[in-house]
Symmetry: C2
Subunit: 457 residues, 2 copies
């Protein structure tokens, strides 16, 4: 039994930090979304790079699958152990290793969460801006190429990871990237690993760009008569070079859900939630110029504030959007899907999606990162009703196909995992097989997160 | 003779667009730098993706090397045909294919130059910001991961290429990336190809992000008593979040060369040349805040203007820096090298480099992109004196080794080619062999630009 032998070898140096107890296996087999549980055969909690390397050497020798695990917040089953094997939980590798304020960068272990990192940065005047909503680990965020509300200003994980220490399938440890702000020294292995969902390597150190906490922040909200007006206002704002730090769209159903959940008093209309970063003068000027654009597009008065409490309340509402929507259909489970399209196609993509959702009979509020052309549908299904799940899956498929038809992508930020594999040929054609060739080059035994992202199993 | 057979097959469909005439071969065998000529056996001028695909199918079948060629402005011999074979010159694939102003993106063929592209964009209010100095082709810039004076604000080619159409070594045509502003749909093949120097594929279409021409631009210049003061001023500016669009450093020798070449009247001191983009109010405010920081660090009065003529004169001086420096030693040839370090190490890297250059006896003015930690030494050698070349190479080696010791990279923007291969093991360790594995996975016959970037020949 190769598995039993591998677990013996692992136990020998991990001791109690290797578990085959059912509660541990079950906890690591769950998904945030609708996928069936897929527990591993064992969970390992390494504390050093060298231990991760030994785990991979042993599992490679015995052909045992290895799946990385951060906070378990991924949405396309990236952390589930589809073929069993060993799940490597990075909970004990959660330190901030080296902070370099003068260079505005930091090296961390993969298990640190974004909130814990920002807590440690608090005294430095610096912050790490990528914010996918969930308090994910930095390792998980790097591996899924996470983004979120601040991407329009600060970019995705692609733009904010400078380098990795990574352990390959055979246990070799490599370093990628550079602490220089740019490099032309060879293939961009860092970018190849970002978004690779643990299928090419397990990362054990991550060097991140940091950003200065803005001197001043203004944030506000406004309503529009329809989606197209809101999107056109955003396009004008971007084209005029007004530097948006956040620009979020919520549909009228989401506004109603906010009202019911948080006692707000929003009109039952599409809204934009907006934030500007800069000096006190520049954020005031940005807000004033944005207000003019909003008015030009028939929007309501742009109510903004640079007061911290007002701003916190605004974004707490947005961040609780998922729970507000979930509460709007008691007993429901949510199927969350995301697509991303060129911004000129966003109004059309949202409107056609809304029409499909309305026809399906399933409640499905929409919200998203309008500055990136990225939006989510939160499809509320009755977990007792298999018809609901089928209809939700059909809606999700329709969204992905529409995104591709409009020149976009089947996922802007949730990743592929198993949920979006069905669309990879349509999106990438022959290039998907090239991804498979790269996978084979780096992991010939296919032990790293098998069954995800690339062709085959 | 596989080569003769391949050339016959190519001639059959390229006709006069395949040349084996010596002047054509010689012209394509040159380098902008000190490398010996390395002409191909033939030059092809394809006009379509399908022709590029046929060229690669034929060359793959016969094992004939293929080297892509844009404007021939690369600095590490990337476009030289080290092992002969066929050079594919993209001069006839130089069209802007699709411009999408609403999405602020454009799809071009690889042979369009950045100046020609910006000329075509002029009426749209948009521009393509990456500016390496030379009027390189977009294809060449993508393949070397070019950057330049505007990188501190707009990023490198890594940040501005959204996707490719690319022809693989076996002639298969793939598409990478997405027109969506972000995607999490699989491995980042686009980033893998950017900076790959034609060793993984020939690109036949490139989709680029565009940016709005700023409403207002302010630019100015100031002197500092020493390099460290200038760098500290830049670090404070970045940390305060003042959005620099350009920030260039020139050393006192460069200032003297400007004076002699262009009749300027700069003090013989290190200088910063700076630019801000934004609204009329914001660029004035940025300049005023920057002036305060300069004064805090002992710099001279920051003389700035938002007048177009003043600004053009300032950047013409900077862009002519290479020629001004070359003119400062009549009859000299220039060896140009570049390194990039974390910005906290920049003053040290420059000062130690200056000491080495002074000790060598070779004139070597320094200038660079200080906001990125990237600088160039322009080493002026007597072409008749082989000792000079040896000393210049030793200086270049010392710079690369120092960059690595300080946590930086052996090249920030010129790339690897053959000139920086010697430092790849020191910079990447085992990761360099991984680059070799990826090369083999995509080009098993090693026909694409053999001898460059990756291990082996």
């Amino acid at each position: 039994m190769p598995l039993a032998k591998a677990l013996d070898d692992l136990q020998a140096f991990l001791g109690e930090r290797l578990s085959t107890a059912k509660p541990d296996l079950d906890a690591h087999g769950l998904s945030e979304s609708y996928f069936a549980p897929a527990p591993p055969d064992a969970v390992a909690w390494p504390e050093t790079t060298e231990e991760v390397s030994r785990i991979l050497q042993i599992c490679a020798r015995h052909g045992v699958p290895v799946t990385g695990y951060g906070a378990g917040t991924s949405l396309e089953a990236q952390a589930q152990a589809l073929q069993g094997g060993v799940t490597v939980d990075f909970a004990r590798m959660n330190r901030v290793l080296t902070l370099r304020p003068a260079d505005m960068d930091v090296t961390v272990q993969p298990g640190v969460t974004r909130e814990a990192l920002n807590e440690e940065l608090r005294a430095t005047g610096l912050f790490f801006p990528v914010d996918p909503g969930a308090n994910a680990t930095i390792g998980g965020m790097a591996m899924t190429r996470a983004s979120g509300t601040t991407t329009v200003r600060y970019g995705t994980m692609r733009d904010n990871v400078m380098g990795f220490e990574a352990v390959l399938a055979d246990g070799r440890v490599i370093r990628t990237g550079s602490r220089a702000r740019k490099t032309a020294a060879g293939y961009d292995l860092t970018a190849l690993l970002v978004g690779s969902e643990g299928t090419l390597a397990l990362v054990t150190e991550i060097t991140l760009r940091l950003h200065g906490i803005p001197e001043s922040i203004s944030a506000g909200i406004c309503a529009f008569p329809d989606m197209a007006s809101a999107v056109n206002a955003v396009m004008d704002t971007i084209q005029m070079g007004i530097p948006l730090a956040r620009i979020e769209f919520v549909c009228r159903e989401t506004a109603r859900a906010f009202n019911a959940y948080a006692g707000s008093n929003m009109a039952a209309l599409p809204h934009l939630l907006v934030e500007f970063h800069g000096s006190p003068e520049s954020v005031a000027q940005d807000a004033a110029r944005f207000a003019e654009i909003v008015a030009d597009h028939g929007g309501s008065e742009f109510q903004w504030s640079s007061n911290t409490e007002d701003r916190t309340a605004l974004w707490a509402m947005r961040h609780n959007g998922y729970y507000a929507i979930l509460a709007s259909r008691p007993g429901a489970r949510a199927i969350v899907t995301d697509i991303c399209v060129p911004i000129s196609q966003l109004a059309r993509a949202v409107e056609e999606t809304q029409a499909d959702i309305a026809a399906s009979g399933i409640p499905g509020p929409i919200l998203g990162h309008v500055g990136d052309g990225n939006f989510h549908a939160i499809l509320l299904i009755d977990p007792e009703n298999t018809d609901d799940l089928d209809r939700a899956k059909a809606l999700s498929t329709g969204m992905a196909e529409r995104a591709l038809a409009l020149g976009g992508t089947c996922t802007g930020e949730h990743g592929v995992g198993i949920g979006k594999k069905a669309f990879m040929t349509a999106e990438h054609g022959e290039a998907w097989s090239i991804m498979g060739d790269l996978k084979i080059a780096l992991d010939p035994g296919n032990i790293l997160n098998p069954g995800k992202l690339v062709p085959g199993n």
